[in-house]
Amino acid sequence: MANIKDKIKNIYKKKNSGVMSYTIVIGLYLVMEILMKTGNLTNLIKSLLVPCVCYIIVAVALNLCVGLSGELSLGHAGFMSIGAFTSVVVSGTLEEVITNDILRLVIAVIAAALVASIIGYLVSIPVLKLEGDYLAIVTLAFGQIIKSIIGNIYLGIDEKGFQFSFIEDTTKISENGKMLISGPTGATGISRISTFTAAVVLCIIALIIVYHLINSKDGRAIMAARDNRIASLSVGINVTRTKTLAFVMSVMLAGAAGAIYGLNYSSISPAKFDFNQSILILVYVVLGGLGNINGTIIAATLLYILPEMLRSLADYRMLIYALILIVIMLVTNNDKLKNRINELLRRKKKHE
């Protein structure tokens, strides 16, 4: 008996095994499912579940890019947007061919991840040549470009096949057809096939991928390149390759999460995935701790729910949210406070 206990303890103690992350996600899932089954969840909370898990996935993905690889990206919402609109198009096109919702969802998510990673790879070729703040601004620029381009696409489908036009709507869709994306309005009439379970499953898959990468040779190379570029070059690490790998992986997961996110609403507009959205995700990552996956999951959950919990404060909620952000940053960076806490912890250990 004691042996098993020790074994479990060891699994949790082992660095970067990810068991803690899986426990948190599955635990949250079970609690929510039980609450839902017993009818203890309000409709508001129910509607928050899927987007919340999507943000967790995107935040974990961004942490791969910012925390692990040290590349500040301000454009992840753009890749979420690519994922969302790809999945909407794929699911809308296949609606009559594949009637099974789950199969269609899986195909849509895979397509979204593929498209996002291809575009992410093309973007990474110029982007990763830059460093620091310049990299940040170029990813910001790409986010804006993606938003502008998707906001000008008109795509419809009818018996003649796809009809596409750019900037102005010249698609003439017959009565039997439908518009998939209509410019700044985005996509409407989406069949909502995302489920909470699907989101959690994707989240687990994302965590498996991320932890597998962290514990692999490539993952160690990525972290080495972050800590010291020149030293890693000198030991034969292909820094460009490792950075591209981290970026494309991160963008792929963001696209997949975007797919679940998009298929959760009956309509989405490209303006939703703007700069502020990218910043929001970055806030989750920084508050959760750079490179700390568990922290990211917790921070994303709490910070996504927080504004909704503050809803009773009506107009003041975003003001309070902003204040909380500032105060957290000031407190966590306060050396005096940090020393005090460390001292307390040390004393406690001595007593034990």
Binding site: V66, L72, P126, K129, L130, E131, D133, Y134, A136, I137, V138, L140, A141, F142, Q144, I145, S148, I149, G151, N152, I167, P184, I230, F275, N276, I279, L282, V283, V286, L287, L290, D315, Y316, M318, L319, Y321, A322, L323, L325, I326, M329, L330, T332, N333, N334, D335
Partner: protein, 293 residues
Amino acid sequence: MYFITYLISGIGLGSVYALIALGYTMVYGIAKMLNFAHGDIIMIGAYVAFFALSRFNVPAYLAVLLSVVVCIALGITIEKLAYKPLRKAASLSVLITAIGVSYFLENGAQLLWTSSPKMFSSIIKSGALELFDGQLSISYITLLTIATCILIMIALTYFINNTKTGSAMRACSEDKGAASLMGINVNRTISITFAIGSGLAAVAAVLLASTYPSVYPTMGSMPGIKAFTAAVFGGVGSIPGALLGGLLLGVIETLAKGYISTQLSDAIVFAVLIIVLLLKPTGILGKKKSEKV
């Protein structure tokens, strides 16, 4: 003639971007931080000028002055309360704090003044200068914007290069430690930088609101992002770079709007930025730092 009209209005818009970009670039040069709340200081400046003009009917120059004073006070307060305690923290923490300040200002403004846009009456009489038998018309506000920008640039360049405070600022941007050993009050210098940046933001706010006559809580965010882009475009940390970047950005944006597509103008601006950064990774006038191993 259309081309020249577009060009001149582009220079007008670019001058506003340049004024905002100066705030970004100076703060970046000295404090090494991206002040995301800068765009929202513009918004506050515009509101102050709006209330001064429409509620209290003060003359235009007083309204501008009031707006500048309020923004300077606000800039210094933000720096003291939110950024100063984080001077030694990681740059991402400072970035998040700046985002927090930005949210705070935007939502505060929304609470105080609601999100519905307010009509801003131009600080000078509307109308345009007609040239070549009316073929070329330049609005007075564009002329005023360009003139103000030129004047401020000259004054600022003189200030940075020829005054004691100016050289203290240059010293701080090069090496804070060495500067404080030379008896320069680093904290005071940083405060002055924030004050100048915020004051310029107020001037830009009044000019922006006179050109596009509506004032609302999120009005500062897009010009803020554009000006930030302009600062990077010209080489962040460089004052002539901010001017050049701002003007280029304004001209490209207006020409793209005029000749290609209004909806795609933002995408084109950012695409040009990416191309410039690929050819010259530190911006047009940015200095390349050699890497020491």
